[in-house]
Symmetry: C2
Subunit: 344 residues, 2 copies
């Protein structure tokens, strides 16, 4: 790729920003120091960003600061956001992307506002009627894409088919050597299970299933999300959001109880000496910061939402995700998949 990958970063959004965002940028620059194929455009108060850049000892010709005075608060409602968010760091990221100066935008700020202004500025892809929020989810063999995670609480069968094409394109951009295995989340694997919407979507996905775009493997149930049989899991935004948060809550419940068990007395604390490195590896595998970054799909350009409460490591992972998405040519994968969907 001769053209540099250009990432627009809202340096001001999220808790503890711009400290967190700039520290995340530092981690990214350190990790990718041998590459020169990208540029990070940092949007926000120039003076403050410069201070943080000096604080974190960043010296790189791969970053560019673009001044933006305003910051969108977490309290801002999506309903009034368009009026109130002009010329903020978040708004200017998306504008920069619209003008073709960036390939992708990243923000840890207000999710609702980011979705509304991204959609308004970048506009939907012609063939897609609803955008989806896609997330990465660990499974027994690696990583899943799950969508929609909450952008649309009600979806029809065509929306679900679109999500399958978009999610498969995302998976292919991240794992170019893999074949996306698409499934629909349902409450049973038999054909008679589920809503009419799911049955119609399933019929259509069967027709579309092929070697080039994705293989449709049918319905899966909630307990199969993490077992690795599928790597693109499609559902409506209500179900997807509940599933994601239920998984988070379950993981927290288990690890909290495990920690309590392993530290309840001197003997069990002793055991930690022997299992320290293994438990550390176990913890790292499940570290939610590694999966930080939800991808807003269906617009004329990808937008990534970092968790607002993440730390520099989590923010680094979402910059890394942006880099990989552009490197993997997400938008041409999407175009290819949507063409297939319309022609088949």
């Amino acid at each position: 790729m001769s053209k540099k990958i250009s990432i627009a970063i809202d340096a001001m959004g999220g808790d503890n920003s711009p400290d967190k965002t700039i520290a995340g940028v530092k981690l990214f620059l350190d990790k990718y120091k041998k590459k020169e194929d990208f540029i990070l455009n940092l949007f926000g108060n120039e003076k403050i960003i410069k201070e943080k850049i000096s604080k974190y000892n960043i010296s790189s010709n791969l970053i560019k600061i673009i001044n933006a005075e305003g910051v969108i608060s977490n309290e801002e409602s999506p309903l009034t956001a368009i009026k109130n968010s002009k010329n903020t760091s978040m708004w200017n990221c998306i504008k920069h992307q619209l003008e073709g100066k960036s390939d992708i935008s990243l923000s840890a700020g207000n999710t609702g506002v980011l979705l509304v202004i991204s959609r308004m500025i970048l506009k939907m892809i012609d063939q897609v009627s609803k955008p989806a929020l896609a997330g990465l989810w660990p499974n027994q063999n690696g990583m899943n894409v799950v969508l929609d995670l909450g952008a649309n609480i009600e979806c029809n069968d065509q929306n679900l088919v679109d999500f399958a094409e978009l999610g498969a394109a995302l998976y292919k951009s991240l794992y170019p050597k893999d074949k996306p295995k698409v499934s629909l989340l349902n409450i049973g694997s038999e054909e008679i299970k589920g809503t009419e919407t799911l049955k119609t979507a399933s019929g259509r996905l069967k027709e579309l299933s092929n070697d080039d775009n994705f293989l449709y493997i049918g319905y899966i149930e909630g307990n199969e999300i993490m077992n690795g049989i599928s790597n693109v899991i499609v559902t409506d935004g209500f179900t997807g959001n509940v599933a994601l948060k239920t998984a988070e809550g379950t993981a927290k419940f288990i690890t909290k109880n495990l920690k309590k068990s392993l530290t309840e007395n001197l003997v069990t604390k002793l055991s930690l000496i022997f299992s320290y490195f293994s438990l550390k590896k176990f913890k790292e595998k499940l570290d939610p910061r590694k999966y930080n970054g939800a991808i807003f799909l269906g617009l004329n350009g990808p937008v990534v939402k970092s968790h607002g409460g993440t730390d520099p490591i989590g923010f680094y992972h979402s910059i890394d995700l942006c880099y990989k998405i552009v490197k993997g040519n997400l938008m041409s994968q999407i175009k290819k998949n949507l063409d297939h969907s319309k022609s088949a």
Copy 2:
């Protein structure tokens, strides 16, 4: 209670039955040997049941065998069940209950068939239009009731309000000293979040919330199911089923990876010597057999479905659940709650 608690048990349903069911009965009789306030009616092939009773050294005047030749297979479809299930062990349990000879029925057999024939024989409570499948779910402080777990994939606001009344009654029958704290599962806690159905149900539950029946605490998200802020969680059967199975899958994923980490080499295996008892306690707390038994609510009598693949300990826990539900006067709790719902 002068009248004995009478439980109808399908001895033949589920994997490894009647070995499992009779071994579960044995555990129950041992645990409750000082009580004389119940009778277990065992339905199935009399000769085989007698053999197992002798195999497990059961000698008790608190059990009664009622011969039934047929057994419903796992392959039987709910659509043809009514025709094919007459005089099976499962069918005769429910009939026994209808005739007032049992207070509750328990089966580890085919779920779909159990739901269909229970509904057909016992009939719905007049004021309730859809029955719900309720489950027990561990939380940070004890136990939740979650419903519906899959009986109805689509629900209107009145169904959700009914589920709240039914679930609160179940919780009160199991924990007479506690006050049920009811919540609706949603994708955000703000009032504007969720479907119109949820918003209407939420408004109605606010009106119904009181000290006698239940306290309505509003919306919760998936990550709050296990944190203990609510003990009756209401949702439609599609979402509830996905949430339950996602939690199961997540728990399995984590414990599998943990086990792998703790046994990967000699050093970590050594650590298990020190943490053995703590890990055992941790495992026991999360043991799914303790939560075995989904309760079918909304009929003129409660029916409990044990997991088909559980073992004697799991089956014992579902007999125990039946005993507690009847002891806690579930049906009068339900009547009280539904009267409140209709009058308020």
